[in-house]
Symmetry: C2
Subunit: 213 residues, 2 copies
């Protein structure tokens, strides 16, 4: 199996050197660089050509979160494993949005740290359970898309509503459904009653917001 090239961005000297030793001392791993900040991020990455980057979230100057964004833009294939002391919701969320693959706490045992490096390389997203817990809460709370409510619309009414949302006139809807415009009008009257609205635009807004479309 290929030896994994790893580089480290970590401002704490002890930790940085500790990780360097750990990685270089383990068969199958190789630490191609260990840097105290991200001032020369692009250059550092280019010169070391890593498979995986270990990135501290909290760093002076360019933070790990910004660094992820920059690095991912230039080197989309490199896997990034974030290291953090605090499992702060906001920072995790930002890192995710910027494209980091894994998230582990710094107090993770060395053996698991190495396992995590290997896992990000293989396409997984290792994360410590406490961080995973927070990520789950994000997933659970963000898409507040529920509303089983379809307001008792019939199939035909839903179809007509869909066309309404697309901005079509009664006439166009009639053509799409192969029915007369008057019938469309009839359906729309019923839709309005069921949604309790009085205009196309209100119906469209409600349809989108309540996710009926």
């Amino acid at each position: 199996m290929k030896t994994l090239r790893v580089i480290i961005f970590e401002d704490n000297r002890n930790l940085r050197e500790g990780l360097f030793q750990l990685i270089n001392g383990t068969p199958g791993f190789e630490c191609a660089g260990a840097f105290a900040n991200c001032m020369e991020l692009i250059k550092d990455i280019r010169q070391t050509n890593p498979d995986v980057i270990l990135m501290d979230i909290e760093m002076p100057g360019i933070s790990g979160i910004e660094a992820v964004q920059i690095a991912k833009e230039k080197f989309p294939d490199v896997k990034i494993l974030m290291e953090t002391i605090f499992d702060d919701n906001d920072k995790i969320f930002q890192s995710i949005c910027n494209g980091a693959e894994g998230y582990i706490l710094k107090n993770t045992a060395p053996i698991q740290m190495l396992a995590a490096i290997k896992e990000v390389y293989e396409g997984g997203s290792p994360m410590t359970p406490s961080i995973a817990r927070k990520v789950l809460k994000m997933v659970k709370h963000k898409p507040s898309t529920e509303t089983v409510n379809d307001f008792d619309l019939s199939d035909r009414e839903k179809e007509v509503l869909k066309y309404l949302v697309e901005g079509m006139s009664y006439k166009l809807i009639a053509e799409s459904c192969f029915i007369s415009p008057e019938t469309v009008s009839g359906h729309i009257k019923n839709i309005y009653k069921k949604l309790q609205v009085h205009s196309k635009s209100e119906a469209v807004a409600k349809a989108i917001r309540k996710n009926i479309v």
Copy 2:
């Protein structure tokens, strides 16, 4: 430390009995029950009073996903660790929404299985890296609310558009803005040009979808 009471819902007999042996054979763990289906879910939980439930996602009759919902409703404090063969996006997502805490693949090593049980009990959300990867994608893609695009609408135009989305007629908007209906009409013409639409409903749909409101 307290011995963890675990129960299992798993239709595969070999796996069920294997897990039962594993858990009962490990100090600090105790398997209080192992069931082949969720027909008597509530009764089973009440009688065994578990700390953690190991729940197979794929089961005949009541699926693990449904079971999570039912169980969490009656016993909100019990931690649930889902087990699955396939890391199917949709099932994971549903389980999360129903409130399960952890997600591991069935081929996870026994030692990690036990670690996962302990972790859910302690408030974490253990998950195998491949599942975590999918969860991350959900977080990352769900709030796709970006679109810095506000289509160069002026402040007044945005205000008018906001009222449009609320379903107001030109006349009502005019009153809300203390301007004449003709002026509203003028603003709306400009809005249509900028959004490249030709009706209220299209404008409303675009405003909501592109998040201008």
